[in-house]
């Protein structure tokens, strides 16, 4: 299999099943916003360059192999560590007190009517950029990168959650950060790296696009909200000066060890679509926070589609028949007819993901067996190859034992002549699939749902069910990513484009063209109403104009001063 990214030359541990199909790796723990945060961290850590840190699959040689992770423990502790902290630690108590004392010397309020401590005002301003909605320890929280200086890489204080002592240790200041690590990847689980790799792969053939994307993002993170960035920097530097007196910060040094994962290198057409979308999006003349928000939505959208595409990429599956994402714009006005179909297509996607996993295991086993020179002594080879590929050695002892027992039973039967070779392979595949699907279901299967719901590509936000929709922000992001500022496109052509690029179905034409109308027969009229409903929404949003004759034009509105608009 072709891979694109950083592949460790002495990789011995193998990868979970999902990694082989969707890359290393996507995991359920990662919050939707953390795809953007991690991606920007990686990009900024490569000095705002795409195509770096790659040792396999790329046409060009990377300048850097490792990206810098942003520790910023001073800033992070200042913003997130407070009385209600769930994971308190005496070292952090001490560090926090020292930092606040030092900062108080540096803050001056000119406004004597100020309510509360000036330092608290600074904190509440910074806290407004808290990016992740979750009860987490201070070191695993993140800030929305309104400025480069707000980028934070996930950290962990080893043993902090189990720490029982509560007395202050009065350590030398420089020791306080020592036990903090940056390589956990519980939340920055490499989803942002995958996106970085998709964009890099999608711009392999288009160096100008690659440069534009990287430079524009750098501009967004460095030129906007500069004052906020200065305040953040000052807070962080106050800590490092206090702590290391200008010497190397050991935590920062330790942090500088990020290496990318990898993605399967196939279906490059989709990678290029992703790159085009981002290239186009970044041309929009919008406020930086708005643009980054649109970017976060688009990343979630792309990753979800990436999961679906790879789930359906298989010789046994007809992509077109399976890859129909019907958008429900009716909001129940049709008595839920479109909603019902959309919901069934959504649950179909999940089934496809599982099916893809199953097929992959079978293909791997069969391919390996076919490759062995001595067909009679294949069992030993097969066992060790599969163990290596999927990293079975890392499984829980009991899980592994029950798998081995099952396999051994089949081996006995095979050796005793009670099983044919084919039947043995069938049983082996079954047992292997079962054991691999445990982890697959637990850590990967839910990723698409979690992402799609967060960005309002799937509604409702809560609960197990879902149907495809286009929430306001996502709709805006998609429109801006498909039209240059000032550009216009006839609504029907726009819909066709959504179908061609992403497999989204809204109106009767694409429902017919995709075969969906045949597969789920309803009156075509419903699709027409659905199409009208989406248009109505776009008109309210100023994303479309209708002059006459139901001929609507989708626009990427460019600021027109003085003219009539809105």
């Amino acid at each position: 299999m072709n891979r694109y990214g950083y592949v460790d030359s002495n990789e011995k541990e193998g990868y979970p099943l999902a990694a082989w199909i969707w890359g290393h790796r996507l995991r359920i723990g990662q919050d939707w916003m953390e795809y953007l945060l991690e991606f920007l961290n990686v990009l900024a850590g490569f000095d705002y360059k795409l195509g770096q840190g790659i040792n396999q699959g790329s046409h060009s040689v990377s300048e850097f192999i490792e990206y810098k992770r942003f520790a910023r423990l001073g800033l992070r502790r200042f913003v997130f560590y407070h009385e209600r902290e769930k994971t308190r630690h005496p070292d952090d108590d001490q560090a926090h007190t020292l930092l606040i004392q030092e900062l108080q010397k540096k803050v001056e309020a000119l406004d004597t009517n100020l309510v509360g401590e000036p330092v608290n005002l600074i904190r509440s301003l910074m806290q407004a950029f808290s990016a992740v909605e979750a009860q987490r320890s201070w070191y695993a929280k993140s800030l929305f990168p309104a400025h480069h200086n707000l980028l934070l890489w996930e950290a962990l204080r080893k043993g902090a959650t189990k720490y029982k002592g509560r007395t202050s240790s009065n350590k030398p200041t420089a020791w306080l950060d020592k036990e903090i690590r940056f390589d956990q990847r519980n939340f920055f689980a490499r989803g942002g790296e995958i996106y970085y790799l998709i964009l890099s792969a999608g711009t392999e053939r288009f160096p100008e696009k690659r440069d534009y994307i990287a430079k524009r993002l750098e501009e967004l993170l460095k030129q906007s909200n500069a004052a906020l960035g200065e305040v953040a920097l000052l807070i962080d530097q106050t800590w490092s000066k206090l702590c290391y007196e200008g010497k190397d910060n050991p935590a920062e040094t330790l942090a500088k060890t990020g290496k990318l994962g990898w993605i399967p290198y196939q279906n490059t057409g989709f990678y290029e679509i992703v790159a085009e979308d981002i290239y186009q999006l970044l041309h929009a003349n919008l406020d930086s926070l708005e643009l980054l928000d649109l970017l976060a939505h688009l990343i979630g959208f792309h990753i979800t589609l990436y999961i679906y595409q790879n789930a359906n990429q298989n010789s046994e599956i007809d992509l077109h028949e399976n890859y129909n994402l019907l958008i429900d714009a009716m909001e129940g006005a049709d008595g839920g007819i479109i909603r019902g179909i959309s919901a069934s297509l959504f649950s179909e996607q999940e089934a496809h993901i599982v099916r893809r996993g199953r097929i992959y295991v079978r293909e791997q086993v069969e391919a390996h067996v076919a490759s062995y020179e001595n067909p009679n002594d294949f069992i030993h080879n097969l066992e060790s190859d599969m163990s290596e590929t999927f990293g079975l050695g890392g499984l829980h002892k009991n899980t592994l034992q029950s798998f081995k027992d099952k396999v051994n039973k089949s081996i006995e039967q095979f050796n005793g002549g009670n099983l044919t070779k084919d039947a043995f392979i069938g049983r082996y595949v079954e047992s292997l699939t079962d054991i691999l699907l445990n982890d697959f279901r637990k850590n990967f299967l839910g990723v698409h749902k979690k992402l799609a719901k967060a960005i309002e590509f799937v509604a409702p936000r809560k609960g197990p069910s879902g149907r495809f929709v286009l929430g306001d922000t996502l709709l805006k992001a998609i429109t801006v990513a498909n039209l240059m500022p000032g550009q216009a496109q006839i609504y029907y052509e726009f819909l066709r484009r959504l179908y061609d690029r992403y497999g989204l179905i809204v109106g009767p034409d694409d429902a017919r063209g995709s075969g969906l109308l045949e597969r789920k027969p309803i009156n075509e009229q419903y699709y027409r109403l659905n199409q009208d409903a989406l248009l109505e929404k776009m008109k309210h949003a100023g994303l479309a104009i209708e002059y006459s004759d139901a001929t609507a034009i989708v626009i990427h509105h460019q600021t027109v001063s003085g003219g009539e608009h809105g």
Partner: protein
């Protein structure tokens, strides 16, 4: 008894599918009503084309776009008839028609979609040639916009035509354009034609046939025709259409005619009514379901008709009559016993009449008020309640108390909106401050109280903690103008004013002002927010367009140097309100916190 042929004629409007392209022209001009004259709506555009444009020695060509039912084909026919002196021979069979006049040759194309792709392209090529070469050709083309765009795209020869079409569709017709004027008949305000259409529908000669009909007393059709000739009721119909227009909903002339015709007949035929003579008493219980003020909302219509008749579909969204307004319900039930004048009015409005089940309503009302054997038990819903939506709708059209009945609309600020359009300066001044407050709340997501400056903010949209919006620009109220703009045109019947918010850039910013059209929905939304309403009501319709305004303000007024500005200005919670604060790092590497001056 044979019935009135005009009723049959009207029912043909209402049974024809609104999707049928030719229906309007066909019915208006070809199928004559048995009695009286056909409807003739004189339009400004017709006069303009004949008297101003095509009377020139070298007139420009004209393209007409608009929805099916706006009268493109009808207009072509009128122009051809006037230029020709009479209806051209074989008009109905031809797709186009040409006439040599002294100086130019007028080519009228009834429908660009009907002449085929190749011929359509050729035609537009010829039109494009008139830009550069002296030719005799002058075109009048009725076109479906989608087809027109398709033919114009991807052909370099047609680039100039395409640009002109695009620009004039966006900004309105350029009447003195040398080569091409594009009219979008969608821009016509249909409300302007209500009186004329109602006048024709209720003309006495069309209803003479009803004289002597035995069903006269139980006939809702005739009842409706009679009522709709009333000026007050006609004015209320017109107001309904105006409200739709201020919601940016365009009803075509044909949809209006279908709606008005249906308001009269309710889909009933003479023969159906005449049959009811046999069971009069049962019919009287039902007839009030077919009176005009029920028909106007399509109350008795089936789902398909409601969906297809655009006017009814859109009017139903206004939901008039279904919610209770105390002042209205009180009047219906009590008739204001302390006010002799109102009592008089009540008697006149609620007299024995077909729309009230003859005496039925009065009986049930009195039973409710006076109690007695027929009065409802404690745990029963009084029968009278069933009459309330019906009577509200009746009053909506028939009661003179305009301010009170306007409260039946689902808009709390409708009266104020129309008052502003009349140019009341004091109201404009106050409304501007309220709108600024509404925008401040909408932009920031905070319950701000400032009306003296417009704060355009930027914030992280998914803040976990209390959001702290950063103010990127503040615009003093004196830089903001609220005014109304007349949309009148010498060439189109466009009787409408629009409310505009003009926002001038702050000092030191070199940019053109931004104009924002405040339609009725946006007005309602912002006023509600300024009065403390929650953000969810009308959010789906308005939030995105307000975000768009914010995007525009930020991208035109915030210049690069400013976003680099060395201070952060933001709203911080301070006791019970939000206070503007600023923060910056000074040259001594200290963080300073100050007041909120930008």
């Amino acid at each position: 008894m044979s019935g009135n042929p005009f009723v049959e004629y009207l029912n043909r409007y209402t049974t024809v599918s609104p999707e049928h392209e030719a229906a309007f022209d066909e019915f208006i001009t070809q199928t004559q009503p048995a009695t009286g004259a056909p409807l003739r709506l004189e339009t400004k555009i017709e006069t303009f084309l004949v008297k101003d444009l095509f009377s020139k020695s070298r007139p420009p060509s004209v393209i007409l776009t608009g929805n099916a039912g706006d009268g493109k084909t009808y207009l072509c026919r009128q122009i051809a008839t006037q230029m020709n002196g009479s209806i051209p021979k074989d008009w109905d069979e031809q797709t186009s028609w040409a006439k040599e006049t002294p100086g130019f040759k007028l080519v009228v194309v009834k429908d660009l979609s009907e002449i085929g792709e190749t011929k359509g392209s050729e035609l537009l090529d010829r039109l494009a040639k008139t830009y550069s070469q002296p030719t005799n050709d002058v075109f009048l083309i009725a076109a479906n916009e989608g087809r027109l765009r398709a033919l114009l795209s991807g052909n370099e020869e047609l680039e100039k035509v395409r640009e002109d079409v695009e620009a004039q569709l966006r900004n309105g017709p350029e009447l003195d354009h040398q080569h091409l004027v594009v009219f979008n008949l969608n821009q016509i305000t249909t409300s302007h034609f209500i009186n004329k259409a109602l006048g024709w529908l209720t003309a006495p000669e069309n209803w003479q046939a009803c004289q002597g009909c035995l069903a006269h007393k139980i006939c809702p059709i005739q009842f409706n025709a009679n009522k709709l000739s009333n000026d007050l009721i006609a004015a209320r119909f017109q107001h309904l259409y105006q409200v739709l227009e201020h919601l940016d909903i365009h009803i075509t002339i044909r949809d209006m005619l279908i709606h008005l015709a249906y308001s009269i007949t309710g889909g009933n035929s003479c023969s159906k009514i005449i049959q009811q003579l046999d069971n009069k008493l049962i019919w009287i219980e039902k007839a009030h379901n077919y009176v005009y003020f029920e028909n106007a909302w399509g109350e008795a219509a089936d789902e398909t008709f409601r969906r297809k008749a655009a006017a009814i579909r859109n009017l139903r969204k206004l939901n008039v009559g279904n919610s209770s307004i105390f002042a209205v319900d009180d009047f219906i039930v009590t008739g204001y016993p302390d006010d002799p004048v109102q009592q008089q009015t009540h008697r006149a409005l609620f007299n024995e009449s077909l729309d009230l089940g003859l005496k039925k309503f009065q009986q049930e009302r009195l039973a409710y008020l006076q109690g007695g054997a027929s009065s409802p038990k404690h745990d029963q819903v009084p029968v009278l309640m069933k009459w309330l939506p019906h009577c509200r709708r009746k009053l909506f059209f028939e009661w003179k108390e305009k301010e009170t009945i306007e409260r039946l609309y689902p808009f709390s600020y409708l009266s104020l909106y129309f008052k502003l359009l009349e140019g009341d300066q004091a109201s404009l001044y106050n409304a501007k401050r309220d709108l600024v407050l509404g925008l401040n709340r909408s932009f920031s997501g905070l319950f701000l109280t400032n009306r003296e400056d417009l704060y355009v903010t930027s914030q992280y949209a998914h803040a976990v903690e209390q959001p702290v919006p950063i103010v990127l620009i503040s615009i003093p109220i004196d830089n903001i103008k609220l005014s109304f703009v007349s949309m009148q045109s010498p060439a189109l019947d466009r009787e409408m004013k629009k409310l505009m918010l003009t926002i001038y850039p702050p000092v030191k910013v070199d940019a053109s002002p931004i104009e924002w059209h405040i339609n009725l929905l946006r007005f309602e939304y912002l006023m509600r927010r300024s009065q403390g309403g929650t953000s969810n009501i009308l959010a789906a319709e308005c939030e995105l367009s307000i975000r768009q305004l914010k995007d525009d303000l930020l991208s035109s007024f915030v210049q690069q140097e400013e976003s680099n500005s060395s201070r952060i200005v933001f709203f911080a919670a301070d006791r019970n309100r939000y206070k503007l604060q600023s923060m910056w790092v000074d040259e001594n590497e200290h963080i300073r916190i100050g007041g909120g001056d930008l």
